[in-house]
């Protein structure tokens, strides 16, 4: 099988590429960023997914499957550019898939789609609407991209579309929202709140994507890892110190004193849980994470030790 991965140069893209390659498939990558030291057998195209050159890759290579990972998920880049990449890029990927006879496309989305709010239930199921967009405008483009990808299910019935909503990723690459939040030695929290956080090892994320390719499942699926843990436990088990601050102090402290900068909307994500129900994906693929929550936290701590005091 010939697999095209837009967004291949990201940390997760690389892991997926290596795994798909190891499974005996051909891997083609598209990314604006270079991937120095990419394994042999991966043919890289350093182009923007929204540009004509990217369409040319689809036309010439005629991939069987596409794993769309070319979304900007970090919150540092607030520019219109990010919005255009996430929506314009997703549109381009699906249009090209349809036009050039791709059989299967996977959209790699995130569980933050559901939003964190005091009235949101634990264990979201796939049929729930996204509540993130209003409270957290920075996530609106990702929510829209997720819904847009889902619309391919009825717009392009011949194209098998899978929308995956992953919980937080943690692991040795130290990439991802949760990993960045845990970066410093002191991790702030909102006093009086200690939400459950759901996370899985990055290798398990790559495995789940590769499994989705093999099983060619159709529809929207939450992908959850091991059972969730309170944020305070995650902070402690990764060797950090939790610093619970009253909410108004928390708001003032963000981005200062070595605390991570976070947009306003993210505060709800530190107060309220986003926990997803991954049973539908497990039933469709028999997926089971290889790394337990403890092994995942230990792997993160090992790769991100704290400076000696």
């Amino acid at each position: 099988m010939k697999v095209l991965i837009p967004g291949i140069a990201g940390q997760l893209g690389r892991l997926v590429a290596e795994r798909v390659l190891a499974a005996g498939h051909r891997v083609i990558g598209i990314d604006r960023r270079p991937w120095v030291g990419a394994p042999d057998g991966v043919s890289l195209h350093e182009v923007d997914i929204r540009k004509r050159a990217a369409e040319d890759v689809f036309r010439r290579e005629k991939p069987d499957a596409v794993v769309h990972m070319a979304t900007v998920t970090h919150l540092r880049d607030k520019s219109d550019d990010r919005y255009r990449i996430n929506l314009g890029g997703t549109r381009a990927v699906f249009d090209h898939c349809h036009k050039y006879g791709v059989k299967h496309v996977i959209f790699v989305g995130r569980h933050t789609y559901y939003g964190a709010a005091p009235d949101s239930p634990l264990y979201h199921t796939e049929d729930e609407p996204p509540m993130a967009a209003t409270q957290f405008p920075e996530l609106a483009d990702l929510v829209a991209a997720d819904l847009y990808a889902g619309s391919a299910l009825w717009r392009f019935p011949k194209l098998t579309t899978t929308v995956l909503r992953f919980c937080y990723t943690l692991g040795p690459s130290r990439h991802g929202t949760l990993a960045s939040y845990l970066r410093g030695p002191r991790v702030p929290g909102v006093l009086g709140f200690d939400p459950l956080f759901q996370f899985m090892h990055e290798n398990d994320v790559a495995r789940a994507i590769s499994l989705t390719l093999e099983k060619r499942i159709r529809g929207v699926f939450n992908v959850a890892g091991p059972p969730p843990l309170p944020l305070s436990v995650i902070i402690r088990e990764t060797g950090r110190t939790a610093v619970p601050l009253p909410e108004f102090v928390f708001r003032l402290a963000l981005g200062r004193f070595g605390f991570p900068p976070l947009p306003e909307g993210a505060i709800a994500h530190i107060k309220y849980p986003i926990v997803i129900d991954g049973r539908r994906f497990v039933e469709a693929t028999s997926f089971a994470p290889l790394f337990s929550e403890d092994e995942t936290m230990a792997a993160y701590l090992k790769s991100a030790p704290l400076p000696a005091k």
Partner: protein
């Protein structure tokens, strides 16, 4: 920190809750927090209020079930004592999980502590999930209108919500009706200050003859009735559901009646015999 009682910890070990290595279940229920909670609660239950529980054997020893009862007392005293009775009177003990008022979930500490003790906000999604997970759910269908009952209304029942019945039918869960008595004596509400409540972000603030809603050491009683099983899917029309709800409501009214008669007798025995139990 509060020292937890050994007998409480021994009981917690026998709960069906699947705690992980860190002492949390998949819903975030914390072994440490329920241990502290039940240590305090057993003191309140046994020493401060002296709660008498009747018919606890009607509660299935395991598997899904819904405890449905009346509100009694201006704050969640009734809920706490029902949770206490399921933990202290059943063998093996069970953790009754209530459906908390939604406004609580925005309050720091309160929301966290309630969640750690298995009391989640009252969303149908939570109820269905817990029942399908074979947990014991506790619901007060009178809702906040029920806790707002004044002292003279303490033995009355206000309108029941019907959501619990649809959930019971949908999840095929037996309903265990119960009557709670004495909450009105513990917290004799003479009026509810709604404006003051608004100031604190709660629905109302109960005012007692001594102002604050601090419970007095009243005698409390909980009467559990036989399980009631209704056949259906949960998609029935409102009239059918309302008729089922009415059956549960009248059964609870009977249990309240039985309970208040017994309390009447008990008061007389007390005066005549001078024994405290």
């Amino acid at each position: 920190m509060l020292k937890t009682a050994d007998d409480v910890n021994a009981r917690i070990e026998r709960l069906e809750i699947p705690f992980n290595r860190h002492g949390y279940d998949p819903y975030g229920i914390s072994k440490k927090d329920i241990s502290r909670f039940f240590t305090l609660l057993s003191i309140a239950y046994k020493r401060y209020f002296t709660v008498e529980t009747f018919g606890a054997s009607h509660v299935p020893p395991r598997g899904r079930a819904m405890l449905i009862g009346n509100h009694s007392g201006g704050v969640a005293l009734d809920a706490a004592m029902v949770v206490g009775s399921m933990f202290l009177e059943l063998d093996p003990p069970r953790l009754a999980q209530g459906m908390a008022e939604k406004f609580l979930s925005i309050i720091p500490f309160a929301s966290q502590w309630l969640a750690r003790c298995g009391q989640f906000s009252g969303l149908p999604e939570h109820a269905i999930r817990l029942l399908e997970d074979e947990r014991l759910l506790m619901v007060f269908p009178e809702g906040a209108r029920g806790t707002a009952k004044l002292y003279p209304e303490r033995h009355s029942l206000v309108d029941f919500g019907t959501g619990f019945m649809r959930l019971a039918l949908q999840t095929k869960s037996p309903i265990i009706p119960f009557a709670f008595l004495g909450g009105g004596d513990a917290i004799p509400t003479i009026m509810n200050a709604y404006a003051l409540g608004k100031l604190f972000g709660v629905p109302y603030f109960p005012i007692t003859p001594y102002l604050l809603p601090i419970p007095r050491p009243a005698k409390l009683a909980i009467h559990y009735g036989e399980p009631m099983v209704f056949e259906g899917t949960g998609a029935e029309d409102d009239e059918t559901i309302a008729s089922y709800v009415e059956k549960v409501k009248s059964r609870i009214a009977e249990l309240i009646e039985i309970g208040s008669q017994r309390r009447g007798e008990r008061v007389r025995t007390l005066t005549a015999g001078g024994s405290s139990r």
